[in-house]
Symmetry: C2
Subunit: 309 residues, 2 copies
Amino acid sequence: MVWEEIVKQSSIAVVGLGSMGLGMARSLLRTGLDVSGCDINPAALDGLKASGGHPFATPAQACENADIAVIVVVNAAQTESVLFGPDGAVAVMKPGSLIISSATMSPADAKALAARAAEKGIHILDAPISGGAAKADEGKLTVMASGSAEAFAKAKPALDAMAETVYELGDAVGIGSSFKIVNQLLAGVHIAAACEAITFAKSLDLDITRVFEVITKSAGNSWMFENRVPRVLAGDYNPRSAVSIFTKDLGIVSDLGRKQKFPLPIASAALQLFVMTEAAGMGGDDDASVARLLARIAGVTLPGVKEEI
Amino acid sequence: MVWEEIVKQSSIAVVGLGSMGLGMARSLLRTGLDVSGCDINPAALDGLKASGGHPFATPAQACENADIAVIVVVNAAQTESVLFGPDGAVAVMKPGSLIISSATMSPADAKALAARAAEKGIHILDAPISGGAAKADEGKLTVMASGSAEAFAKAKPALDAMAETVYELGDAVGIGSSFKIVNQLLAGVHIAAACEAITFAKSLDLDITRVFEVITKSAGNSWMFENRVPRVLAGDYNPRSAVSIFTKDLGIVSDLGRKQKFPLPIASAALQLFVMTEAAGMGGDDDASVARLLARIAGVTLPGVKEEI
């Protein structure tokens, strides 16, 4: 696929047009901003084009005139490659421009990337996101952000377009990433616990629709129980958020715990459940598939799940 | 201590006047009902008397004229002893009377107790409770109940006085207990995860008051995170609900999982954290003490916690 059109690259670029990035690009476009973007997946580029944005093949092309580059890839390694790899963004961006870094990564990785960008006079806002694809598309994300006052000021029009809530968590890159990691620890544990509990309830012959109704009004409730269990009740494991996302994010949590010499027994148990679910071939399916794994293992009949492994 | 007064035993008795039972007795008294009660702790009997109830030394004495006996002890073994032990309630209660059984126990234990009571023509409502001491005192508990239509009808005035929400979950004893166990699985995991996450956040040098604020508005939130983390922020480990309650309840969860041959990796990890916290001498302290344990182990400075183990 070749992008033959001659267009002036926009002052805002979004690199990484997955379920989150494309929604964020669309939110930027909706406020009248001109948005360039790139992704390694041609279908994602088509999506950007259909929404009125300008697709490019490489980060360098998408970011050539960018005053703000929003990076929404999956981890630190991809962010590093997008920024500093061949055809990377930083080489073409001007001093004083801004990178909004939204992938989940360790605070150390966020700091290292910011230090390298600073050598070129480029600011980084450490700005992990929360809220899921639907909120991304509505411009209603939550952003857990840290960085210099200058980075925040420069980011404002983009953040206003993409987010409902922006937490300004400090002036140092790394703080935003740390907050996101704590959130992901809890989110991952709560998904795994929700799947364990609802499948256990079925093994006890309980009416799991009733269990959902009672638990969501009781002390056992969590945001994730309320959000994920309906997928188990419907037997619908089409990915809204894939198992592999939490294998990755709880992997970052686990790595950081070992580095800090901080024990994380609950997060580790949850990580292993996501690893098992991915190992059983469900890495690309919805993360509620942890329930499917347990149902198959234990011979429990959940809606839409065959009793086999 | 001797209870010299000659009083007519009431038609409602509460056996077990701990933080939950005393509140339930007070809620019954507030609606104008006459309430007898007993507990092995003399201070609890004083509390009942101060609230206008009639204290007795044994279940048999408290329940002699009881049409309804509410049993709010800690587990199946204590419930069995209260009902069928020396000076037990069932020996003195009349056919057609009702036992409201509110201790957390396995469905098999609940069924076994109900079968023995049925031999004497006494009904059991399987009615575990949720909501904590404050809700007990306000008459605003949640009751997860199952039992015959006759048991529900007979229980109505007592349930109306003690509960804001009564879930009628089925006509068989055991269902209510199963729902409670699923709730306790989630509640216990979420307490342990909340403690793990907030202490980890401190180890990352985050402002944990800000972490509380952000997480309670994010996908990582849980009812327990919202309820327990303020205790960690305040460094207040006076027991609202003790560590030993969750060692017990997650123990029941774990036993039932093994009996069912259902794997519970997350609940097991949480159980071990409560066992560790109890082993470290904090069994009688608030269950948020899991955070204190982790802080002491990892040398993290939480409010009010000395860095020693």
